[in-house]
């Protein structure tokens, strides 16, 4: 692969090409799904190889991707990428440009504790079948799912500046869900929620204590059928890590992807309310809120030695003491904004075009435990486990529903509520944050399913968070 990628970049050493890069990914995917206690699907997609060539000609990007690494196919992709840039530049007003970077050589290999691709298939099936058996339909439980996805990706990257990177990593997505019904309504509970993926192998199932939580989700889903809803208009809410990761993702992470400032994502993912002049002054959040993008931390799925356009991994403050101070950028966009590139250009597979993406996008820890935060709350709700999410085109108005809410009275959890729903405006909401729990509660929450771009790419990324409290939030939505 190294030889192929280096030969390909040499072929792109042409006078009209001002910048070029080439990526190859070799990816293994495995998925297992049990439904109602029975194995519904088990499959693999192994050794999937993809190559992408990106060239800058006349200030316009051209790209071609293929999954065939024969000489003929690569030569065809080179010619197509060049042709795409040439013809694309016919319809262009402002040329893409950015300053050069010094070349970097990087090598990284992640070793999970339990390599899912080396484990016997029977061992994985046996474990998951025990979980599936434990949560199969019983009592009010009418449907259940146990699900696992394993991914190993080896990536080669090189560019016309001489940067070369080779990395390998493993990501795992574990999930179980039960659905309870009383005939009239249904309620669901997942474990460990929609942000339970991680940079890990099979050991992630044990880290998340699946076996210890089967009874809990059965009980909670069943209890939700008879639980009340939130009745007041406004309340203080503590958001647990699993759901707070999504709140951060949608209302800060995507909002600070700077390609949105220039409308590059209007046609699909949307825009952002942020304007260039807000960087450095905009009071995005309360002073207790510090948010950063960190592709240097190998614990998260967003780690990389070099991003997909040759920028070394970086830790960049995005919100410092509540003030918006930076953006997630590409080299082109950083240049337009007068910023340093933040190492956020990523593509899902070799034959995908790199886009501005979250990597490890994190809320810095404050202090104290979740128990202390609950004890410090007179009346409110602890919300966790995302059920529904939605945010507007500008990343301004959001509304979330979680699977469950735990009602807090005088510092203690005294009951549950079903389908707790809250909504708000991004700036007002983050300015209502008065406490973030400390390092002892801080951990990565991760997803396999961040969609962006056309053709669509599903990115795997992480959020480091600790539970946080938000005051006087709108919690009543009439349906």
């Amino acid at each position: 692969m190294e030889q192929i990628i280096k030969q390909t970049i040499q072929k792109l050493s042409l006078p009209e090409i001002t910048f070029a890069d080439v990526r190859i990914t070799r990816t293994d995917n495995e998925f297992i799904a049990f439904q109602n206690g029975y194995l519904r699907a088990y499959g693999t997609n192994l050794d999937s190889i993809a190559l992408g060539i990106r060239v800058l000609i006349n200030g316009c990007w051209g790209f071609a991707g293929t999954r065939d690494l024969s000489n003929n196919s690569i030569n065809k992709a080179i010619n197509t990428a060049i042709s795409n840039a040439r013809y694309g530049s016919i319809f262009q007003k402002n040329k893409v440009e950015f300053p050069p970077l010094s070349p970097v050589q990087a090598e990284y290999e992640h070793h999970p504790e339990q390599d899912p691709f080396k484990m016997a298939k029977e061992e994985k099936i046996d474990y998951l079948q025990r979980l599936a058996e434990a949560i199969k339909p019983q009592g009010k439980i009418v449907h259940s799912v146990v699900y696992a996805m394993f991914m190993r990706q080896e990536k080669y990257y090189t560019n016309s500046e001489g940067t070369y990177s080779h990395s390998t990593y493993y990501n795992t997505l574990p999930m179980m869900e039960v659905l309870a019904s009383d005939g009239a309504q249904v309620q669901s509970r997942t474990w460990p929620g929609h942000m339970g993926a991680g940079r890990a192998g099979f050991e992630l199932f044990h880290k998340h204590k699946f076996e210890e939580n089967t009874e809990r989700i059965i009980k909670e889903a069943t209890d939700l059928l008879s639980a009340p809803t939130i009745e007041e208009d406004k309340a203080d809410i503590i958001i647990g890590s699993g759901h707070l990761a999504l709140q951060l993702h949608e209302s800060v992470g995507h909002a600070t992807e700077a390609d949105r400032i220039f409308g590059m994502e209007i046609s699909y993912a949307g825009k952002t309310f942020i304007k260039p002049e807000m960087i450095g002054t905009f009071p995005y959040a309360s002073p207790v809120v510090n948010i950063f993008s960190d592709s240097t931390d190998p614990r998260g799925m967003g780690y990389h030695p070099v991003d997909d356009e040759g920028v070394p991994g970086k830790k960049v403050d995005i919100i410092k003491n509540g003030i918006l101070v930076n953006q997630q950028t590409s080299r082109q966009i950083a240049h337009l904004l007068g910023l340093e590139p933040s190492s956020n250009m990523k593509a899902s597979y070799g034959d995908d075009f790199p886009l501005v993406r979250m990597t490890n996008f994190c809320l810095a820890p404050g202090e104290g435990t979740l128990d202390q935060l609950i004890a410090d709350t007179e009346h409110g709700y602890l919300l966790d486990f995302t059920k529904t999410w939605s945010i507007d085109d500008n990343r301004n108005n959001f509304q979330f529903t979680t699977e469950i809410g735990y009602r807090i009275e005088k510092g203690k959890i005294v009951g549950i509520v079903k389908e707790p729903t809250y909504y708000g405006i991004t700036k007002e909401f983050w300015n209502s944050c008065d406490r973030v729990c400390g390092p002892e509660e801080w951990d990565y929450q991760s997803t396999f399913n961040c969609g962006k771009g056309e053709p669509g790419q599903s990115m795997q990324l992480s959020h480091g968070v600790a539970p946080a409290r938000f005051r006087n939030i709108d919690v009543r939505v009439k349906i």
Partner: protein, 441 residues
């Protein structure tokens, strides 16, 4: 398609096995543009071989990209080494056995018909047309070509070729950010009328000169544009699947042949409509045919594939809701708008998600043109709004439908970029629940 034959031959030597194999070739030419200029153009091609092997009620699947005989042999060996050790799925009975072949169609490769040079020329003319109004254009112009062959051990051998194209243009005012959208998609580029497309875009731009206002949360009578009603129909159709019924998340559970909506609401899945992007085959290679879903307000059929037909006992049809069509009504659009004293015109929707699929409760937002209607006329531009509604209630609250239907292309932007059409009229819906405002355009 030689790899498929090679794999089929390998599996045929194991009479104890059943199998389904799909080989797919997909290629795209994908131009994204912003601020009336190219962002980038992507060309991409993928060949994949996807197989599921069954031994009794046990199964194992594998997918191979750019396969060859060596990787196929390895994958088959891997599958055979594990399949006996896997637990059974007691609900698996048999593979699809519908051998009906679709009528042959001539399919032009639109990547060749609409090359990048032509795309940029079309876009340059659209950009020039909107520029005097201080609008820039953003969006994508896509041509796909895809070939699909499915075989299974019950003797199915089906090939389908399609080449949809899709143009979506958002015109955005450079100062106010007020946005309108126009889209066109299909399989024959001759149907694309550039002048009409530009005229319709300019007509929408004409509404954008009004003041921008905000409105209070509450219920409003609204006109839903075809792409909105079509998208709500897609969400409604989730509950019309036998899979949702089996998983206890279907709104239509226990409602077969019952009246669920007013008699002027009819919805079908119709691949034969010439305005729609055609679909030859549905789930597991079943022929794709017309299916009535809601007939004059009565729920008629679940969409059901082979697996769930065996499991639920419902008749199988292979439909997937890929060609949804909502019957037109008897009012002109002007009459619909003219009937509203104080309400909204909603052009497009954004980021919808079910809160509870069984109840069809949903939240989402408006975008790309939300307008205030006062005394029967569009008078203001409104900030984008959040709605929290029940989709079933929206259809129940349809008061009247436009007397013509419009094909609306939708991009299916998942594993591969695909294009489907929904055909829908404008609809007048009463008491649509606006739950909050975004306070932005």
């Amino acid at each position: 398609m030689e790899n498929l034959d090679y794999l089929k031959s390998a599996l045929d030597s194991h009479p104890e096995l059943q199998y389904e194999i799909i080989e797919q070739y997909w290629t795209t030419d994908f131009l994204r543009f912003y601020h009336s200029q190219t962002n980038y153009n992507i060309s991409k091609e993928v060949t994949s071989l996807d197989a599921t092997i069954y031994k009794g009620k046990k199964s194992f699947s594998f997918m191979l990209d750019n396969a060859n005989s060596q990787t196929i042999d390895n994958a088959v060996q891997d599958a055979l080494s594990i399949i006996d050790k896997l637990p059974e799925d007691p609900y698996f009975v048999d593979l699809e056995n519908d051998k009906t072949l679709a009528k042959p169609r001539e399919v032009k490769n639109n990547i060749e018909v609409v090359p990048l040079k032509l795309k940029t020329e079309v876009l340059a003319r659209i950009a020039t047309a909107v520029a005097p109004y201080n609008f820039d254009i953003f969006g994508s112009f896509v041509c796909n070509y895809q070939k699909y062959r499915l075989v299974n051990s019950n003797g199915l051998d089906k090939i389908s070729v399609s080449s949809p194209y899709y143009l979506e243009v958002k015109a955005v005012h450079n100062k106010s950010q007020v946005t309108v959208v126009e889209a066109f998609g299909g399989e024959d580029f001759q149907y694309f009328q550039e002048r009409n497309f530009i005229e319709q875009l300019l007509q929408k731009i004409g509404f954008c000169s009004h003041d921008i206002v905000d409105i209070e949360p509450g219920t409003y009578d609204v006109i839903l544009a075809p792409r909105c009603l079509g998208e709500f129909a897609q969400y409604l159709a989730y509950g019309m699947s036998a899979r949702a019924l089996d998983q206890h998340t279907s709104f239509f559970e226990g409602k077969l042949n019952q009246k669920v909506f007013p008699e002027w609401v009819s919805i079908c899945d119709d691949p034969e409509d010439p305005d729609m992007i055609h679909k030859d085959y549905g789930s597991n290679g079943h022929i794709y045919r017309y299916l009535s879903l809601i007939d004059q307000g009565i729920f008629r059929n679940f969409m059901c594939d082979n697996y769930y037909s065996h499991k639920t006992g419902l008749p199988k049809n292979g439909n997937t809701g890929s060609c949804l069509k909502i019957e037109k009504g008897d009012k002109t659009l002007d009459e619909l708008i003219g009937s509203i004293k104080y309400g909204l015109f909603i052009s497009s929707l954004h980021y919808m998600n079910f809160i509870n699929p069984k109840e069809t409760s949903i939240t989402g937002l408006t975008r790309d043109g939300t307008f205030l209607i006062e005394d029967g006329k569009i008078t203001k531009v409104v900030n984008n709004l959040r709605f929290t509604e029940k989709v079933a209630r929206i259809f129940d609250h349809i008061q009247a439908l436009e007397n013509r239907s419009h094909p609306v292309p939708f991009s299916g932007n998942y594993a591969i970029f695909d294009v489907e059409t929904v055909k829908s009229p404008h609809a007048l819906v009463k008491d649509f629940n606006i739950s909050s405002s975004t306070k932005t355009i």
